[in-house]
Symmetry: C2
Subunit: 113 residues, 2 copies
């Protein structure tokens, strides 16, 4: 756990969130600044700062994507959705705890930011 | 292989592309309509239409992400980058062969489309 990490505090329930999904390894909750009608953040419970910090052979990105697909079904995003991972400053990463954005409920335009 | 799939034809070298990376399972090439100074598409050689068609237990998304990290290093995207997967119409998916977008070389704004 990162002591000063806001996402770790959400995992620990020290900061409230609107939960969408939780299991042993993953938590998902609504983004407090939604960029689409449905905007969910899917995070590993393990504190991993960026995609580049994932240990070799760890399939956490597939795990997050699998959960995203399940959540998209639960939330009836039948017309599609966009998955986004921001890495570093140019990527627009603002919280340094790995997270996958699931965005849907409207047509997602191009370019993606 | 999808007989009418443009990405399968790129894999088969029936359609030319500006290749960035190739191994047994993955191909990466520059997007012909770049949405950022660096814009690479990373695809599995296996024809999988969408993220929802990935077989259970298959870690292809982690594989694509691992390759994206390597490519980002090769292309010196030290200031960061964004990874995007579009699923279905609302996601903006235009080619129905699974692909991961790697975008960098500029600040990627928000919302992501």
């Amino acid at each position: 756990m990162g002591n000063h990490c806001v996402f770790c505090k959400i995992i620990q329930k020290e900061i409230p969130s609107h939960l969408v999904f939780e299991d042993e390894k993953v938590l998902a909750f609504y983004d407090i600044h939604p960029a689409a009608p449905t905007h969910v953040l899917i995070i590993p419970k393990e504190h991993i700062e960026t995609i580049e910090d994932i240990p070799a052979g760890d399939h956490v990105i597939s795990l997050l994507a699998e959960r995203a697909i399940l959540i998209a079904r639960q939330l009836k995003l039948r017309e599609g959705y966009r998955l986004v991972i921001n890495n570093g400053d140019n990527g627009g990463q603002t919280v340094y705890h790995l997270h996958l954005h699931l965005l849907g409920g409207r047509f997602m335009a191009w370019p993606p930011g």
